[in-house]
């Protein structure tokens, strides 16, 4: 699955696939813009035959979810786990530690989403 995702991203971003790893950040490292994410979503739907919900796939409302959780006094880990069931507990902890550095979306997150939806 991860190889297929990397191939899709490399193709759309016009990058050498060997420079992309599961830990590569889409926005921070590859400079992906909304138009690029849109194409990646459509391509995943097409090539992997899975339904794609862009807001979930690209963790688009992540910061909003965290703000609401703080308002409602819910633990951020629990809020993220509920909103993004495809992310592991370890990954959610890593995201929370990484929030201040910049956009957190990694290639591995897309693979986790695709794997979860391929199963279901």
């Amino acid at each position: 699955m991860i190889d297929e995702i990397i191939r899709i991203i490399a193709d759309i971003m016009d990058q050498d696939p060997h420079t992309i790893t599961p830990a590569t950040y889409l926005v921070r490292d590859l400079g992906a813009q909304s138009i690029d994410l849109l194409e990646i979503g459509v391509a995943m739907q097409q090539h992997l035959g899975i339904p794609v919900q862009d807001d979930t796939l690209f963790l688009r409302d992540l910061r909003l979810v965290l703000l609401r959780a703080a308002d409602e006094k819910i633990a951020p880990e629990a809020a993220l786990a509920q909103r993004y069931p495809h992310l592991s507990a370890a990954r959610i902890n890593a995201i929370l530690a990484d929030l201040n550095v910049g956009p957190v979306l990694q290639v591995a997150d897309l693979a986790a989403y695709a794997t979860a939806h391929a199963r279901s």
Binding site: I12, M13, D14, Q15, I35, D36, L38, E39, G41, V42, A43, Q46
Partner: protein, 380 residues
């Protein structure tokens, strides 16, 4: 403000370099080939855009004509001795719709829109100046040349990249032309009494225009200067070319210029269709006069019909061949349909003046008169 030409680049069915283009004509080698769609076509080489400009994620939205445009633009800028970014430069491109654009891309609409090509040529070369995408059918690239020359002449910019690109060799384009009844199943023969249509082609041609002051200021090589321009529209019919409305556009390009007519070569639009050539020949007889001592050629006989790109592709071919000491003939002309001094064979000649004229569906018309500087290049 005098406007000069300092560089050009072209990807055409005859090749990607002036040398290749001139040699192909010298050898008498027309680039026409059968297509799966039932008519001959004139395909161009496929440039490796990534090798030319490096990774460009938005290249995914470049249609075939757009790729040809980017490659020719990079060539033209290098030929002019300039290097990107050309921040202050203007950009005028003559383009057409991309008929084969389709999903699966989310934003395939971008690929269908001609202006996306303009945007990505600008992004490639770092152009941020005045710009327009001209959509005047088969007059579009010549319209771009007119607009670029005028922007400089009127002092709005010192440098303008102008040109055109198109690809009309795919299934939908060929089917569209076929249903309009304008394609020949055999060979394109402009101005011949036996002509029966054109061969669709693809390609791109880009030219760097500068104010003379700007060009001299940086010690640029000057290839030509623009003496006159004309642009207009028939305003009557969509598909019935009319010599009376074509003539003022060509006269406007010639007006007030001191041109020795014996040193003038006319690059006729010459599509090889019955109606188009008849109207253009009648117009030329009226504008040039019965005893015109220069010469008329029609380079679609060598390139096929480059559609939106045709005018500048033909000018590029003329520049390439002239640099090698000759002017190409109207290939295949046996029985001319008009009393004009058509070149029946390639002529060893370096004419001082060239008139480019282009006419498109809908009565679009544009013409440019240029003075070519002294002989350049080496004979093939």
């Amino acid at each position: 403000m005098k406007v000069v030409l300092t560089g050009w680049g072209a990807i055409t069915p005859l090749g990607e370099t002036p040398q290749a283009m001139a040699e192909a004509v010298r050898r008498g080698q027309a680039p026409f080939t059968p297509s799966p769609w039932g008519y001959p076509v004139a395909p161009a080489p496929s440039p490796n855009v990534r090798a030319l400009v490096g990774p460009m994620k938005n290249a995914r939205y470049l249609c075939r004509a757009g790729r040809l445009a980017v490659a020719a633009a990079v060539q033209a800028v290098a030929d002019a001795g300039l290097a990107p970014p050309l921040s202050q430069a203007a950009l005028f491109l003559g383009l057409g719709p991309h008929l084969e654009a389709a999903p699966p891309q989310a934003l395939w609409l971008l690929s269908a829109m001609p202006s996306t090509t303009t945007s990505l040529v600008a992004a490639t070369l770092g152009i941020h100046g005045e710009s327009a995408t001209l959509l005047g059918a088969c007059a579009a690239s010549t319209q771009a040349l007119v607009w670029g020359a005028r922007a400089i002449a009127e002092g709005r910019t010192a440098v303008a990249l102008v040109g055109g690109a198109d690809s009309r060799v795919g299934e939908r384009a060929v089917a569209a032309y076929a249903s309009a009844g304008v394609l020949t199943p055999a060979d394109i023969r402009p101005f011949d009494t036996e002509r029966n249509g054109f061969i669709p082609a693809e390609g791109a041609a880009m030219m760097v225009l500068e104010s003379e002051e700007h060009a001299r200021g940086r010690g640029a090589r000057i290839l030509a200067s623009v003496l006159g321009t004309g642009i207009g529209i028939d305003g009557r019919e969509l598909t019935d070319p009319n010599p009376e409305t074509m003539a003022p556009v060509v006269r406007s390009a010639l007006e007030g210029t001191a041109v020795d007519p014996s040193q003038l070569v006319v690059l006729a639009h010459g599509t090889g269709t019955r109606a188009g050539d008849a109207a253009e020949a009648a117009m030329l007889e009226a504008v040039l006069g019965k005893d015109f001592p220069g010469a008329v050629t029609a380079l679609k006989s060598w390139l096929g019909h480059g559609a939106a790109a045709c005018g500048l592709m033909e000018l590029a071919l003329l520049l390439a061949c002239r640099a090698h000491g000759f002017v190409p003939s109207v290939r295949g002309l046996a029985t001319p349909c008009a009393r004009l001094p058509f070149l029946r064979a390639c002529r060893p000649w370096q004419p001082r003046f060239v008139l480019v004229e282009s006419f498109g569906f809908g009565g679009q018309a544009a013409a440019v008169l240029m003075e070519l500087t002294h002989a350049l290049g080496t004979p093939v």
